[in-house]
Amino acid sequence: MNTTEKYLVGVYDDEDEVLHAVTEVKGKGVKIEEVYTPFPIHGLDTAIGHPRTRIPIAAFLFGLTGLTCAQFLINYTMVFDWPMIIGGKDFFALPDWIPVTFEGTVLFTAFGMVFTFFVSNSLWPGKTPKTFDLRSTDDKFIMTINMGTNKKSEAEIEEILKASGAIEVNVKQF
């Protein structure tokens, strides 16, 4: 394996402790990459300082694409290519199309969101997932620190993590 990324992994066994540890570790100038927890913790993402997710914007754009595609399809087939009179209405019978347009919008949004989620979490086929510690899906709270983005030495960071309440600190390489 061509190792390029080296991580320090702090393991905590209490959600309050990890929440306080995030502020403490950050306060000492260590850059935290991510915290993995078995369940959502209120206020954790603000404590880490993650920027707000942009997925709603993506959803809106996917929706807009769906709306346009649905309108294009119906207009092309029903008005331009093969106009037919249905129920005595105009060829361009907008009210009739609203359900289809709605469905198209929802479909594109749903699929778009799922694919965006996969891509942003590196979950494409053939990709080996980065698993820092399997216990993060059970009862442990995992804080990961990317050594590539931190200037402090490994020993220093390990000491800071231990001081903040980590029960163990492991090294992980991918």
Partner: protein, 444 residues
Amino acid sequence: MAGHSHFSPANVEEFYEFTPEARKRVITAMIIGAVLLGIGVFFLGSGEHEAAHAVAGHAAEHGGEHLSGGAVSHHETSWNPLNRLWVNLWMNGVFFSGIAVIGMFFVAVQYLAKAGWSSVVKRIPEAFPKFLYFTFPVLLLLFVFKGDVIFHWMHHGITDPASEHYDKIIAGKKGYLNFTFFLVRLVAIFTVWIVLWNMMRKKSIEEDLNGGTQNFFDMVRIGTGFVVAMGISSSLSAWDWVMSIDTHWFSTMFGWYMFSSWHVTGLATITLTVLFLKDKGYMQYVSDSHLHDLGKFMFAFSIFWTYVWFAQFLLIYYANMPEETIYFLERWEGHNKVYKAVEILNVFMNFFFPFLIMMTRDAKRTPIFLKICCFFVIVGHYLDFYQMIMPGTVGPHGGFGLVEFGSVILFASAFVYVVSTELTKASLVAKNHPFLEESLHHDI
């Protein structure tokens, strides 16, 4: 709102004070409304003749075609300008009864779901149904004395085969639409609403004094009962008070349609009241997370209204049956097109506006956006009720004049006065609500 960490239910009981200045302002508004209404009524008599002639001429040009599913076309000759006043009072009575009862509905749903987040704001909607005490007599008196102005089916001789006004379709609906049964339903609906609200309110205030969880479980039971009662009464009131105006026409979606209109207006009124109280320095423990939830409610139910409104329209449009399409045709092209602008505004103000404005998370957490949206939703649904009721009652004699503005100002200020008075009667925070602690830490 970092301040709420110091707030504990044990040490705060916050009372709203309806100050003399505020009281004076509301009463002034009420007087302005009444004066406008008076002037409007005075001018109704004088200005109406010309308009009526113009309309009659117009109708003659078109070979006397009638685009009316309602009452007006049937007694064109006996039009009394004062009718517009009675119809306006009826419309505002129905609209504001809805806002008032949605207060109770909101609380009932929160208890039924055993929701925690809403316990800091629940005292606001809880005060709304007090206004039912005022709209009930208004609707009752209007129905008893002026019912024939509002309802086509109450016209003299309409169910009598010997009369020249005999209408076979309406005579067929006599079993449901008759004076006695309608009166019984009207009284029963209001009685159920008011009695259940009184039970809920009593338990809620008792909880402040006694604590414990017994009151909470009692309120869950009352809330459950109310939701069931509302399921029936909301449809009954929609059919009776609004749909029976256009007696020939009917829609199976109408109960939901009117309820959804009431519901979103009620939610907007709750949000607006919370925001105003917050601006006045009350309820500082209501965080932007609570506002976010109220905003989501308003956003979602605006879409729900659109869904029901559009579903009703699409079925009628698609089936294209004359006895059904007349309802929309009357509003779109009938009566000199007086109602066309309202129809367009209806969809823009009640769907596109809240949908696009309230879509982002930030908008739902920003008071000014919420306020603008609440204002548009309330005005928009006033217009929705306007276009439900006016074409079938006043028809070509309708419009927006002093009568409309005066009566809505009168009702709105009376609503503010009554609800403000009711708010002073209990602490703004239900301090012994079992979920209060959860609500104070609400974070989304």
